[in-house]
Symmetry: C2
Amino acid sequence: MPGSAPTFRPLYSQIKSLIMEGLAGGAWAPGAPIPSEAELARRYKVSQGTVRKAVEELAQEHHLVRRQGRGTFVATHAEERTQFRFLRLCRDDDQPETYPETRLLEWRRARAAGEAARLLNLKPGEGLVVVRRLLVFDGEPAVVDEISLPASIFRRLDAELLNRYRGSLYKLFETEFGTRMIRAEERIRAAAADGATASALGMRRGDPVLRVDRVAFTYADRPVEFRRGMYRTDRRHYRNQLV
Amino acid sequence: MPGSAPTFRPLYSQIKSLIMEGLAGGAWAPGAPIPSEAELARRYKVSQGTVRKAVEELAQEHHLVRRQGRGTFVATHAEERTQFRFLRLCRDDDQPETYPETRLLEWRRARAAGEAARLLNLKPGEGLVVVRRLLVFDGEPAVVDEISLPASIFRRLDAELLNRYRGSLYKLFETEFGTRMIRAEERIRAAAADGATASALGMRRGDPVLRVDRVAFTYADRPVEFRRGMYRTDRRHYRNQLV
DNA sequence: TAGTGGTCTAGACCACCGT
DNA sequence: CGGTGGTCTAGACCACTAA
């Protein structure tokens, strides 16, 4: 029977979608507990084992965090443990890295065009907020980021807010804009540093730098950030696990 | 009670270790089926659900592959599906990538020293086999690899064997040397191409290239390969998923 | 001590595969 | 059709946390 539909969807997978809808719709805030497994089982009229399988997969995908004896919580970028999930730059010696200091280089409004428009699913001409910043690790400048965000969500993001905030941008996006980053895709290339990049990073124009283009997605796989990072890699490296 | 041992180890986790020992010891060959869940449950005197949890985790870690209706199989690098698990270079346009052609540039014996010795846990002076090769994608040279391997395992690896073989090196290591790569760590930097690299890749000396240093591990987290890859990234990029 | 997630079991039934 | 993994249930008990 060619073309016959897959026609079967496991119960736990449907429960998973229901919980995801709750997360995307803000039924429970980041960091807050969701109902217990027993309560969810009653609510959805399935066994606790079925809820468990749904919750387990959501925890594996970093949407939820389980804590034995306490409950299950909505994942949040405010935890120390996840600070380096999206920042893969490491010292060459294996000393523990401290969270970098941020220096705002530029803030402006712009119109979507070209690559940023395409990757963010915006029509040319739609509003953008663009941020350029420098990341300084242990006194060493290491990354220049240019971050493009749809104004439809991030209009309120201005230099004052950026300067006031400590810690990761994704924490700010989550608490101030109700937009939680779920996953990201990065494309990494080698490039020659241009004048602005070189001077910000304390290098010479033309020195090799890593160019990391990132698209970050929120719920429903919606792209909401395009970021181009230029990484200085003479004392640090981009680490990756192949599993 | 400071220093008290963790003292509790779930049953499924112990079963997992037993199966891992079987895999590491070659009880079942790559690609071959392991016993059914029911059989394993009888053998280890636990319920099928407990075996299931152990096998599920091993499948998630790519040690096993489950196929509904058929059985559970030892993972192997010989499958098309896993060919690009360790090779993250992609075309900039999103055309599907075909498996690259390999050209052997150099083969030699050497003595472990410096970085390779340290990363492979070898004493200075122990034997190495070193391979340099070029990877050509769709007629475009894109990667120069220098691969260092402990002679204690790979002594038999020579130019004749390398030239005869088609497909991924890890497939060859698995079938010819009984050494299956489980995971790898990569450290990525930007560098200026040296003369040899530039000419192999069709670039100019000093052009920016990606330098990818990889240590690959087999069972028991034993490092058995150090590989330095120089990647040309003007038409391709290194892709990464942040999840 | 009450409540949460974590483990383990036993059994029923379903989906899928090869023959 | 028989055998495999996949789903779902119900229930018992364990480990951990907070009050």
